[in-house]
Each structure stands twice: as C-alpha cells, then as structure tokens.
C-alpha cells in the first residue's frame, strides 16, 4: 500500500519549480536599477525622483528628513563608526542608512555623542529609524526600477 503522506508532498515538490520558473522570468539589470537605490540611499526620496515618481519621492523625502532633523533637535545621539561597543555599531548601521544626511550631520558636528535626557533618547531612536526607513525607500526605488512595482 502506498504511503499517502509521503507521496503527495513529493509530487507537489516536483511541480513547484516548473511552475515558478515558467511564471517568473529573470528581470534584466538596467543602469536605472543600479542608480535608483544608490541615489535613493544618498538622498531620501532621490531614487523615486530619478524614476519620475515625484509625489512619492516628496512624501518620502519629507518624512525621512523631518524624522532625522527632529532627532537632531531632540539632542539625539549620532553614532560613530567603531566605538568598540556592539550596540553602538548597530546604531551606526541605522544612522548611515540616512546617506548624505548622516554625512552632513557628522561634518557639521550636529547631534550629541552622549545622552543626557529621556527625550534625547527618543531623538537617538528618531535618527536611527530615519536611516532604516531610508533603506526601505531605496529598496522600493529598486523595485520600481526593475518593474516589480508600478
């Protein structure tokens, strides 16, 4: 007697790769697909501007820049590359997601290197999250550039 529990999933497994490869064709990597996420990372919303998505770009630019600026105004901490603390390094990864905003902030010496107030801790989170949101924006620009999203 054939074992139903093993035979059914096997047949499904055999069908899946065929249907997936038939339905999804590999998308060509265009220069725009490379440029859009890079510009989007450097300038919040810039990737969307490059693709002619002005409305989306403006909303993303306003949101990410406002969050970052509010974090600075709340005396949030701006992380640096290597302080030896693993949490600081993770904070740096979040901060650097903001692209040129982070570079300008470091260059102008804005923000704090340590936290004095509870609200300053919120500011630190605002800065980190602004960077992480900007990475999402850059990925979204890539998806639009390759035609995965209208």
């Amino acid at each position: 007697m054939p074992d139903e529990t093993t035979s059914k999933p096997d047949s499904k497994r055999a069908e899946q790769p065929e249907s997936k490869s038939a339905g999804e064709e590999p998308r060509p990597l265009t220069p725009m697909a490379i440029a859009a996420p890079i510009v989007g990372w450097l300038v919040p919303g810039g990737g969307h501007f490059l693709l002619g998505q002005w409305g989306r770009g403006l909303l993303l630019m306003a949101s990410v820049t406002s969050m970052f600026a509010l974090g600075i105004l709340m005396n949030g901490k701006v992380y640096t590359f290597n302080t030896g603390d693993i949490l600081d390094m993770l904070g740096f990864v979040g901060d650097i997601g903001a692209g040129l905003l982070y570079v300008v902030t470091r260059f102008m010496d804005w923000g704090r290197s340590s936290i004095d107030l509870a609200t300053a801790d919120y500011g630190t989170k605002f800065i980190v999250v602004a960077g992480l949101l900007n990475v999402i924006c850059a990925v979204d620009a890539y998806h639009i550039a390759i035609g995965e999203k209208p």
Partner: protein, 60 residues
C-alpha cells in the same frame, strides 16, 4: 535650538512619519497606500495606548 517632546507626542510624531513611509513603500495604488498608512498609524497609536495602560497596571 532644542526640542523637548512628551513621551506621547514623540510617539505620535514617530507614528506619523513612519506610517507615511510604510504606506508609500508597501502598497502600489494610491488608495491602498492611504489606507495602509492610516492603518499603520492607528496600530501605532493603539499600541502606544495599550503599552501605556500595561505599564500602569504593572505599577499598580
């Protein structure tokens, strides 16, 4: 210049901007984007209020 927001207003501002980015990036059509953005904002707001009450209950 320094800005001092209360806990709740900081959470509201955070929810507002984050919801905009989520709405724009996670949905395709304009209608869906607005709907999803509002949904995210509502969840952030309700989550903040729920967390506040949870902390109050833990303290008392």
């Amino acid at each position: 210049m320094s800005l001092e927001l209360s806990h709740f207003s900081a959470a509201l501002v955070f929810a507002f901007f984050t919801s905009i980015v989520f709405g724009v990036t996670q949905r395709s059509t304009e209608r869906e984007q607005i709907r999803y953005g509002l949904q995210c904002f509502a969840f952030f707001l309700l989550g903040t209020i729920a967390a506040g009450w949870a902390m109050w209950l833990l303290r008392h």
